[in-house]
């Protein structure tokens, strides 16, 4: 029940296209859903995050769509660029309203390649 399932495992998108990565969770106690971007040899870098009281959040070319009833959320990268080529991890945690910081449960990752 603690798992976060992520798909696809890998994705190839042409420059200028839309990259879509999907995640699903079971634990209804999760209330914070960040996406991390990881380049080879580097640590995960926080990209964008959402709470379940909104259905969408947009920051630049990156958008999270959130479907609370389906327990699913997705990352959309608009106008994908070669520099976006990286591994993307969705994650989830609970405990926002308890005043304590909670562990992140990560998805399995999606390796995105943006071709010219």
């Amino acid at each position: 029940q603690q798992q976060v399932k992520q798909s696809p495992q890998s994705l190839i998108v042409q420059k200028g296209g839309i990259s879509i990565i999907n995640c699903a969770y079971e634990n209804t106690a999760f209330d914070y859903f960040p996406w991390y971007q990881q380049f080879p040899g580097k640590g995960p870098a926080l990209l964008i995050a959402i709470r379940p009281d909104v259905s969408e959040k947009k920051e630049g070319r990156f958008t999270i769509s959130f479907n609370k009833s389906a327990k699913q959320f997705s990352l959309h990268i608009m106008d994908s660029q070669p520099g976006d080529s990286a591994t993307y991890f969705c994650a989830a945690s609970g405990g926002i309203n308890t005043g304590t910081a909670s562990k992140l449960t990560f998805g399995t990752g999606t390796r995105l390649q943006v071709t010219l």
Binding site: A49, A91, T100, L104
Partner: protein
């Protein structure tokens, strides 16, 4: 921009040896974490630490592991007797009390990692 730093970047050790991985969290952060990532796999939570004690730990974090904040800036992970299966990338992360983005969230910022190779 403040960042989490980790040393060493790569540690090679023999099975059974003790290793200490070091992290300097972002200076005003109060919550600290260790995660690990076995090559090609997902990032897994090990332990969280707040107010000089462990807040939460995973089943991976057994008696061979310990964490410490020896001074006001460092946060360490010790593995007492390393096993081959401890080979992984170890990430330190930190978050602050009030969060910076979404209200009430504790956004975690990760360091560049230490690659531990146990031979």
């Amino acid at each position: 921009e403040p960042e989490v730093t980790q040393t060493p970047s790569h540690q090679v050790t023999q099975m059974g040896q003790e290793v200490i991985l070091r992290c300097v969290p972002i200076s005003n952060h109060l919550y600290f974490y260790w995660y690990r990532q076995i090559l090609g796999q997902k990032v897994e939570f090990l332990v969280s630490f707040y107010n000089n004690e462990i807040s939460e730990k995973s089943e991976i974090f057994d008696d061979q592991f310990s964490v410490e904040r020896p001074d006001g800036s460092n946060f360490t992970l010790k593995i007492r007797s390393t096993k081959l299966e401890d080979s992984a990338m170890y990430f330190c992360a930190s978050s602050d009390l009030f969060g910076r983005g979404l209200a009430g969230t504790y956004e975690q910022y990760f360091g560049p990692g230490t690659r531990l190779t146990v031979t």
